[in-house]
């Protein structure tokens, strides 16, 4: 097995294992803490896929910011862990079945489809290429996202502000 394969299986195992902890743990704080290795595993996958810039942003935003936000929200509500309450709702059984079915379906679809290998090569300096793309072909998307970001920022502040 090549080095890349080992890296892939290790990272996939980390991602999925932590993901499993996230969704099954009864302790909310454990769930949130398990998000970090899940995100970092995904980051590793991005690096394997030659997307260093996305990997960097993933760590910065997901592992660094969103996890902290979620931890904050957990600590500010329900006195934290949520160990005292039921965490599963009444559709747990059906839900599990549907999720498993979805996983099976997606895997079947992904393996059965004959993906055509594309031509061309990734540019050597991806951050530069991404920047160029954002300011040329994708400028509309870029500006649109900026507006959404600004508005959601203001919205979040407005919603979370204590009314007095």
């Amino acid at each position: 097995m090549s080095g890349e394969a080992i890296a892939f299986y290790v990272l996939a195992a980390v991602t999925l294992g932590s993901g499993l902890v996230v969704v099954t743990s009864k302790n909310m704080v454990h769930s949130a803490a398990a998000l970090v290795p899940a995100f970092l595993g995904a980051t590793g996958l991005y690096i394997l896929l030659n997307a260093e810039f996305v990997a960097g942003i993933q760590v910065l935003i997901y592992a660094g910011a969103i996890t902290v936000l979620i931890l904050f929200a957990i600590m500010l509500t329900e006195g934290g862990t949520g160990l005292g309450s039921r965490q599963r709702n009444e559709q747990a059984v059906v839900g599990t079945a549907v999720a498993a079915a979805m996983a099976a379906l997606l895997i079947v679809v992904a393996t059965r489809t004959g993906w055509t290998a594309g031509s061309g090569t990734l540019p050597p300096y991806t951050p530069g290429a991404i920047g160029q793309s954002f300011l040329r072909q994708n400028i509309l998307v870029f500006e649109g996202t900026s507006v959404v970001l600004l508005i959601s920022l203001m919205g979040a502040i407005l919603i979370a502000r204590r009314e007095d």
């Binding site: 769930s31 996958l45 996305v54 993933q58 979620i70 965490q87 996983a103 594309g118 793309s133």
Partner: protein, 102 residues
């Protein structure tokens, strides 16, 4: 050598984990975590397709970045809503938030 399919399978499993969390958990924050997992699964797909199907264009990575940005927005607004709901209704369990129903 892992190929495109390997990544798609990992992504599918991660996505299913996300669905599982969203569909079965009661806690709003836990559901948000499930959503984040699903978004991550989507990103893995985008980046993998970028490398294996269309390496010349950067569209996959571009959209992965946009998804990350929008995920940040979603987390901020979502958690703000959770906090607001907790302040007024004193619960974060979705089946207990039903003031609009009655």
């Amino acid at each position: 050598m892992p190929g495109l399919t390997h990544y798609l399978v990992v992504s599918a499993l991660l996505f299913a984990l996300g669905i599982f969390a969203v569909v079965t958990r009661r806690n709003a924050v836990a559901i948000l975590m499930g959503v984040e997992l699903m978004l991550n699964a989507a990103n893995i797909n985008l980046v993998a397709f970028n490398k294996y199907v269309a390496p010349g264009a950067m569209q996959g990575q571009i959209f992965a970045l946009i998804v990350i940005t929008l995920a940040a927005c979603e987390a901020a607004v979502g958690l703000a809503l959770v906090l607001a709901a907790y302040r007024t209704l004193e619960t974060v369990y979705l089946d207990e938030i039903n003031v609009m129903k009655w």
